[in-house]
């Protein structure tokens, strides 16, 4: 990689540099979520039966649908990146719209879930009315809201970035550094998807067999 310099092959150099920058950033994000995973690991290891019972309060159908939505949004985003390398501006723009729409759908479902969970009295510290297995359920949902909430914030930022990128593509030309930007945005989007890929089984699938 180091043989490519800004002077010798500027386009390739720029693309690889931007990509490295985003991957380093994603490493920091993995470490950031790692703190929550550590808390979860502690809870599940110490109170595995109680965690299973607590997780029954999650809405597994909504969680599963949301996982499908997000995985599909990664598909459309990856296609957008692919077509941006072929400078197909209009195709990329449409795929970015689809990605943003799917991301927004995820957020809408999440909002509906949170609303239901509020009404069910599952929000520790703010509106928590569960009596049975109260302590671990409170801890479980504390981690649930923190993890999915931080994830939702990241996804919102992603949706806004995708919308903004799509808006910038409304007119030609399609310079090749735009493809680098979309590539880097894609990496971020897939990362947000990857985090959810782990949150889904950890919070939704714990106790379905009981």
């Amino acid at each position: 990689m180091s043989t490519t310099t800004p002077e010798i092959r500027p386009a390739e150099w720029r693309e690889q540099t931007a990509s490295l920058g985003m991957w380093v950033f994603l490493a920091t994000e993995v470490m950031f979520f790692g703190g929550i995973f550590m808390g979860y690991l502690y809870l599940r290891a110490h109170y595995s039966a109680e965690v299973a019972q607590a997780s029954r309060h999650t809405h597994e159908w909504l969680g599963t649908i949301n996982t499908a939505i997000l995985l599909t949004s990664s598909f459309s985003m990856a296609l957008a990146v692919r077509f941006s390398q072929l400078a197909k501006r209009e195709t990329v723009q449409r795929l970015l719209w689809v990605t943003a729409a799917l991301g927004s759908a995820f957020l809408a479902v999440k909002f509906a879930e949170y609303t239901m969970e509020w009404h069910e009295g599952l929000v520790p510290g703010l509106h928590f009315t569960i009596q049975e297995n109260a302590r671990v359920t409170a801890l479980f949902f504390f981690l649930y809201f923190l993890a999915t909430g931080v994830h939702a914030v990241h996804l919102t930022i992603g949706v806004l970035a995708v919308l903004w990128m799509s808006w910038r593509l409304r007119r030609p030309p399609f310079p090749d550094w735009r493809a680098d930007e979309i590539d880097v945005l894609g990496l971020y989007w897939h990362f947000v998807d990857a985090i959810w890929i782990f949150l889904y089984p950890l919070f939704y699938l714990v106790s379905l067999s009981s």
């Binding site: 790692g34 290891a45 390398q85 897939h190 998807d193 990857a194 089984p201």
Partner: protein, 103 residues
């Protein structure tokens, strides 16, 4: 990149992801005891690897980028592992007034 991957690569990856999602959802309903979380996480890992390799094109990326993609996982492994060494080897002495099974 001169020629991006064929469309088929992306489509197949998506289908595989959906299949794995269906599998994890279905398998979660079976009582497999200790294997439930193992299976769930293994499938999650498989999905993440597919996203990383094909959607994030790690397959075509330089060694340096692959290293950075993995280094955070190593660091987390250290965090979980060495802390786990503490948790796994602690002796718990509940106070006399704590009912057994209570917390």
């Amino acid at each position: 990149m001169n020629s991006p991957p064929a469309l088929r690569v992306y489509a197949v990856t998506w289908v595989a992801l959906m299949a794995l999602l269906a599998a994890t959802f279905v398998l979660a309903h079976f009582r497999l005891g200790m294997l439930n979380p193992v299976v769930a996480l293994a499938i999650a890992l498989a999905k993440a690897v597919l996203v990383a390799l094909f959607f994030m094109h790690l397959r075509r990326s330089s060694t340096l980028i692959v290293l950075f993609a993995l280094v955070a996982l190593f660091a987390l492994a250290i965090l979980f592992g060495l802390s786990g060494a503490d948790y796994a080897t602690r002796e718990v002495h509940p106070a006399p007034w704590v009912a057994p099974g209570a917390y």
